[in-house]
Amino acid sequence: MRNILAIVERELRAYFNSPIAYVVLTIFVFLSGLFFRSILAQVMEMGLMSQMQAQQFGPRPMDMPGMISRGFLSTMSVILLFIMPMLTMGLFSEEKKRGTIELLLTAPLTDLQVVLGKFLAAASFFVILLSTTWIPMAVLYLYSDPASGPILTAYLGLLLYGLAIVAVGLFISTLTENQIIAAVLSFGTIMVLWLVDVVANNAESPASKAVLTYLSILSHLDDFMKGVLSTSHIIFYVSLMLVGLFLTYRSIDSLRWRG
């Protein structure tokens, strides 16, 4: 465990010693503020409209804080899709390029410890990133009284979703020595997992439609956003994460054989 923590610590220091952590954090916080503002404005407008309609047709209940948090957090899931490859691109590719992988793989560490150390480092940074969304969310809590249940499940969903993406990106970074290629490949892979949804909508047979919808990485977030906890969605993200970690582990093994 101490070995794993040593890797996590080094990796986090590396993030914050290079510009990457600051660039990613700044862009993410800026974008989240921007989107929060525009979603806020949209919902306010809808609120005004429904008030005017209420004068004519009688009042209808409307959960404005819930709409805002749901819209905001769903948007964040898309932004994360674009940003996550930047966190994972260098994890193994840089080690390969600089030859430091030889240090890790000849130290008295198991391959699993190396993989978990890298994974937990990127996962920790992701959690830091995700926690910055509490800035706009705090504004929401300050001026309204949103229901906390759906917000908590939404965060749980985002957490699982992020960890799965980290594991996929981690695997891809073992495949190349080039960070940019790792980032583009991760981005492409995640995009495919995302766009499967669109293909699913056009699918003809109901069976293939069901399968494709299940494979889509974003479709599983919907229920979390609505405040519904379902084991099938949790299993999807957890198994995607485990597949990513397993492939990473295997890839390191084959790296040894090829030398």
């Binding site: 290079s18 600089r98 430091t100 030889e102 000849t106 030398g259």
Partner: protein
């Protein structure tokens, strides 16, 4: 301390090393000498557990590299050809990290890092960022990393490559200093380096051991001793004793085997060609003769290759 038996590493398209067997005694400095691409780095990487062998076994302090990789790695300090440095870290930060993954206990961490920095003389740059250090300092940080946790075995891949003459001298003195307490295996393609630092030399070419000897004997051999490499199929011990008893043969040593064939290094008396006698003995006993080569010749070839390589390096410097 290190026992390598019949080691082989084969890739789909080429064979990196084949039928390599040797031993390294405790406290010894063993040099791998050979041209680039001869298989030095591959052999070292297999001993350190970085890559698995296709065939054969490696034991370090009694532990098998394949079966107990962690036990083996705990006993080895390894300096790869390119020092594995995280350039954005400070010297002391980097060494602390390596000490942690090598399992140095928390309360001894600072003292251990100080110790190795003293040992290789880098305490004056401890807070500098590694990227900003000169090549000589970087190399020494790499050696310091290998010394952490005081491993009994040190594997150093081309420890003096790319250094200036003064730095080369310093590193060689350091390595000589480390012997005795540590068992050292180092590789080089520079002949004088071996003569100055190593107790024993293994010459490798095309993935095979060409000769094993002390630097002194090697030089003697260059002056005209008769040495023949012979590859025979048959019972190893019987072949060895029969050949030993032949007139004109001074010594027979096994240097490797593959697929039931055994390679021997046969040393003959000076100025006496024993090759035809060897061939006759092998055939008369009904063993299969696969190769018979005057080692002196090929050794010379290698030495020429090696020395010319150093000459051209000097010119480039």
């Amino acid at each position: 301390m290190i026992t390598v038996e019949n080691l082989a590493k084969r890739y789909a398209t080429k064979t990196a090393i084949e039928g390599m067997s040797f031993q390294v005694e405790k406290g010894e400095i063993l040099g791998f000498l050979g041209p680039n691409g001869a298989g030095k780095t591959t052999t070292m990487r297999i001993i350190t557990g970085y890559m698995p062998a296709s065939d054969g076994t490696v034991r370090v302090d009694g532990f098998d590299v394949f079966e107990n990789p962690i036990d083996v790695r705990r006993r080895i300090g390894y300096l790869p050809e390119n020092p594995p440095l995280y350039l954005e870290m400070s010297v002391v930060g980097y060494l602390r990290f390596v000490a942690k993954i090598k399992g140095v206990p928390k309360d001894k961490l600072a003292a251990e890092v100080d110790r190795v920095m003293e040992r290789v003389n880098i305490a004056d740059v401890k807070d500098r960022i590694i990227a900003k250090l000169s090549k000589g300092y970087k190399q020494r940080v790499g050696i310091a990393q290998a010394l952490l946790n005081d491993p009994p075995v040190l594997i150093l891949d081309e420890p003096t490559i790319g250094l200036d003459p003064k730095q080369i001298h310093e590193v060689r003195e350091l390595i000589k200093d480390l012997a005795g307490k540590h068992t050292v295996v180092l590789s080089t393609h520079i002949l004088p380096e071996v003569e100055q630092t190593c107790h024993r030399v293994i010459i490798i070419d095309h993935g095979k051991i060409v000769a094993v000897d002390t630097p002194k004997n090697l030089r003697y051999q260059l002056q005209g001793a008769e040495r023949v490499t012979i590859e025979v199929q048959g019972p190893a011990t019987e072949i060895s004793s029969k050949l030993k008893n032949m007139p004109g043969v001074v010594d027979v040593r096994k240097i490797g085997d593959s697929d039931g064939r055994h390679r021997f290094q046969v040393e003959g008396e000076l100025q006496k060609d024993i090759r035809s006698d060897l061939a006759r003995t092998v055939v008369q006993n009904g063993w299969g003769l696969f190769e018979l080569q005057s080692a002196t010749m090929s050794l010379e070839d290698i030495f020429i290759k090696l020395t010319t390589a150093e000459e051209s390096e000097k010119q480039n410097a």
